[in-house]
Symmetry: C2
Amino acid sequence: MLRQRAVPARFHLGGNVARRCAITPWEQKCLVYRASNVRLLHSGQDVQKSVPGIRKASLRQLLYPRQVRFVSGKPLPQRRSWILNFVYRSAAWLGGSIVFIGIGVVGFFLYDASTYREDLSFRDIQVSEIALRPRTGGPKNLPIAEVQIDDDDSSEMKSQKDKPKLVILGGGWGSVALLKTLNPDEYHITLVSPTNYFLFTPMLPSATVGTLEFRSLVEPIRRIVCRVKGHFIRASAENIEFSEKLVELSQKDNNGKEVRFYLPYDKLVIAVGSTTNPHGVKGLEHCHFLKDIDDAQKIRNHILTNLEYACLPTTSDDERKRLLSFVVSGGGPTGVEFAAELFDLLNEDLTSHFPKLLRNEISVHLIQSRGHILNTYDEAVSKYAEERFSRDQVEVLTNSRVKEVQADKILFTQKGEHGETITKELPMGFCLWSTGVSQTEFCQKVSAALGSAQTNRHALETDTHLRLNGTPLGDVYAIGDCSTVQNNVADHLVTFLRTLAWEKGKDPETMQITFGEWREVAQKVRKRFPQAADHLKRLDKLFAAYDKDQSGTLDFGEMRELLMQIDSKLTSLPATAQRAHQQGQYLGHKFNKMARAAPGLRVNDVRDGDLDEAVYKAFEYHHLGSLAYIGNSAVFDLGNGWNLTGGLWAVYAWRSVYFAQSVSFRTRILLAMDWAKRALFGRDLMNW
Amino acid sequence: MLRQRAVPARFHLGGNVARRCAITPWEQKCLVYRASNVRLLHSGQDVQKSVPGIRKASLRQLLYPRQVRFVSGKPLPQRRSWILNFVYRSAAWLGGSIVFIGIGVVGFFLYDASTYREDLSFRDIQVSEIALRPRTGGPKNLPIAEVQIDDDDSSEMKSQKDKPKLVILGGGWGSVALLKTLNPDEYHITLVSPTNYFLFTPMLPSATVGTLEFRSLVEPIRRIVCRVKGHFIRASAENIEFSEKLVELSQKDNNGKEVRFYLPYDKLVIAVGSTTNPHGVKGLEHCHFLKDIDDAQKIRNHILTNLEYACLPTTSDDERKRLLSFVVSGGGPTGVEFAAELFDLLNEDLTSHFPKLLRNEISVHLIQSRGHILNTYDEAVSKYAEERFSRDQVEVLTNSRVKEVQADKILFTQKGEHGETITKELPMGFCLWSTGVSQTEFCQKVSAALGSAQTNRHALETDTHLRLNGTPLGDVYAIGDCSTVQNNVADHLVTFLRTLAWEKGKDPETMQITFGEWREVAQKVRKRFPQAADHLKRLDKLFAAYDKDQSGTLDFGEMRELLMQIDSKLTSLPATAQRAHQQGQYLGHKFNKMARAAPGLRVNDVRDGDLDEAVYKAFEYHHLGSLAYIGNSAVFDLGNGWNLTGGLWAVYAWRSVYFAQSVSFRTRILLAMDWAKRALFGRDLMNW
């Protein structure tokens, strides 16, 4: 009955009606079309004949059917002048919008009012005696935190008390990915970190110049720990007593007094990250690093103090040029992004309120030891970045190594065209040191304690299940920048051959391996060393290449050589947030699975052995690509030769990626606010 | 022709039409009303007869004329079920809203894209030689900054070069009010301040606990200076050479190297503010002050470090209670607001993620030397604040004076009920010292240099035209916390009587003053000392009271006594933002007027004499009221016994006042964002 059907529009309006109403031919058409649609007319009817009562106002009504009052539905008044009409309707729209927004504002205030707590009920709470007065013990006879003061805070927390203790050292990408992946009910989790926030490190360069606020890059670690009903202790890890399963922690109070204590663990995850690599260069006390919010704040202050000092009337011209010479040592993503952000600050914001002389005397220099900046990226990407920088008047000094940093200049050697080394010096007012990562003191101690099981000077070695080499299986894991996954495929050859040899009743070292057996070995290698899979695609070719005597079989020596050649092709994983994140997620999934498998294993009295391998696959890294901001443009290296470079649209894409990866709804809102702030008000050139 | 007239609704709808269309009697009425309004019907016509072609859909159309598509104006489809209709229309609205918001977002992105500068044109700029290599001179033979490096930056700046040099020391309330009032074209203005931002001090307590961000309270001073085409030098004032009209400035660079130089002035405004008053108490190095962003940041860090330390398993119960004992010394607005904000933080945000034990062991103490907190406010307001605090478990210790602060406790004396003094001690983990203001080192130097002209130990004395006593008239002014306006009415008695005495040919000290003459004197007093006007209302009563011999005249002694009694009633102006603001505005208006009067004075060769008094009235302070936040409630003292106290509505009012007073559009937006952030995400319990 109420159905609406499109009726063919074959009507005409009586000429005298049209004349009487003074409407245009186009309006006539519209009118007829509308009229047919609302079924005032039938096919072929004449408007004048069929609706003799129709007059001007009603025609208007049909022409502009929306022009009625919002609430009452009454038609809007028609005035003689279209200006008056327009003014009246605009005012009505404005009023309507104000009411609408007003409702929103009132709603927000009501919500806001509900967030103030008025009840102050202190209830008696339970805290176990042993949490308040922990027993002492361990090799150094320190207090042992077996029970924590918030273990009895709620029934949910209580239920965690007797679960296996999982201790996580560090609050970076790896730890947070692990926390976000873990099921809330499997472990009694304690996170230990010297900072009480998670820092979104990839955007730290933006914060140094005030494009982003510090608060937008951090999330309180307690909010993240909360999800798994875990605990947080702000302390630094000092040592691990592997035999007694204790971590030694330290913390300083406001007066500088230090306390130390032990935290017991059943499972320990080391994710403490790395420090800056000094590369043995003298005078790094004159440089800034960029690892933490603190660093970013110091950098911001230093830059602005230099600018202010350059404005003083007593500053000589040479001194001004020195103060405004900004040097970045290291052409990796951090160095490049910092140089780009610095350039943005100087180019976009400095000119408006500082003396123009400053802008003319500013110089930005980027010192890179390799032949190109962003040398881990695709070559096209490197080139694009270098071109962009040369346009932006950022001086890129490649093939250059810093020799020494002094308070007011930097000495570096540069390779000449003919391979000769020239020593140069650059006056500088600011230097950022971002030349790769190095092991923390804590990791060095751990590594030393494990002796020959740890042979890498730069990182803690783990097997492909991310278990720290040299520790009891399933006790200690290491992830992120502080760790490296050992890809010693050849060393495990005997293990791979053992089952085969046992079946044939032979010694693995003397047996001949057929192609079929090689396939089985390759399968095992793939499972244990997922990163090697890429190099094990053409098994027949590999087999043929190493079967030098063309006997159709490989002996132990040939086999070993084959695997060693694969080893040599495996590179160590990059020290990036992406890797730490994947490792954290991997551990989270594995721990969840192990916890679910635990009852079954207990029933079957399985306590020893390679539980990790029994339960879960080995860790495999999937590179998703790299990206970098390079000053009103951005680059994306998507791997396998795919890459994208571009201007503003790439900047927005770059922001979108990080916006999506951001840790919480809170940080996303804050990031969006910051970007809007930059557009509206520019960066704030203030420091304290 | 297009006029719309209400037509009396005397129609009826043919019964069979109504039946056929299945509409209700109410809908019939509506229909008839609408139809008459859009003139489909004439008075008395029957719908069925006059419009035989009308069918259901068109009736509906008349009934609900808004239900048409937004863009095309076609009617919305009618479905059998109201649920389907509702769903369809909601979806349409949602889609419409998304499109609408989408347009807004795209618009913002377009605007954003326009804010990135791509052109990097460096143009040659003019800088005069003398700006780059200033001549040295003055008593200490330091460089003299006669010309600045941005004096030639633009034609606008150039036009300022030869105008009288106005130097303003300090970048607080007084200076900013002065800058905002000054006409841009009258003076060559240079602002000197050790910080490159203006700080909105009244909300600083909110920033200590993260309710507001630091950035929201500050505005780059260069942006404010920009309006008057002025200059900014980040430096500290060290001394003034009054005879040569030079200010000695100093600044340290990042390596700690200090430079000093002179800045010449024609007019100098001292608005350097004040420091915290130590009241001679020992151990203030264990306390925090709250004067600057730096202080607020330190406080935030200290509070959070204490909380984190209190969570450690090694912290004993006594130590935890000490760490969580927060002491505020000083019951003025700053102390009270800080205590309130601290309590909010602990009550609203701490409980959610920190161990519950902490909340139970926290204590906040407020030590006040007077009998009430907020003792400069109305008594009812003080009482309300005290009641509120006692409900909020903030301990208010009145009639108490701090004797000594130690690293872990605070010693104070308290007056007992019988007037006896008891010494008490309070373990504390944090202490804020906010007990009034004191003179800065610079002001002490200035005061000492002026010798007997400056008798006040606490502030620089000015006359009622805000000219610094002891300096050539019209050279040096002092405003804000660093200054006090001398109300020595009696000292000026001879001046007031001089004209009268001259007319009569008498010695002022021996003449007899009649009531008529007294009225003239009172008029002069009112003009010169506007603050005294309140006490000069009943001239006849005053005259009668001091005419002790009832002679109908006053002699010089009686007159003097009368004025001294008025002096004693005049209180010194409060050290508040409000006062500094009014003084800044006053100076701004006066300077504008003086600049406009300058050509006339030059023509008439008027160079000496009291130009200020000739041109402009004396400064008069108008108290507009005081307000304070006291923890989910706020108080307003509007003066003359009027006051308001209340809960959340008062908090919103308190915020509105500061929102309105905020220095720029930028800070207002940021404040609103911060308040929204608090409601959505709470305060961030992080520190670095």
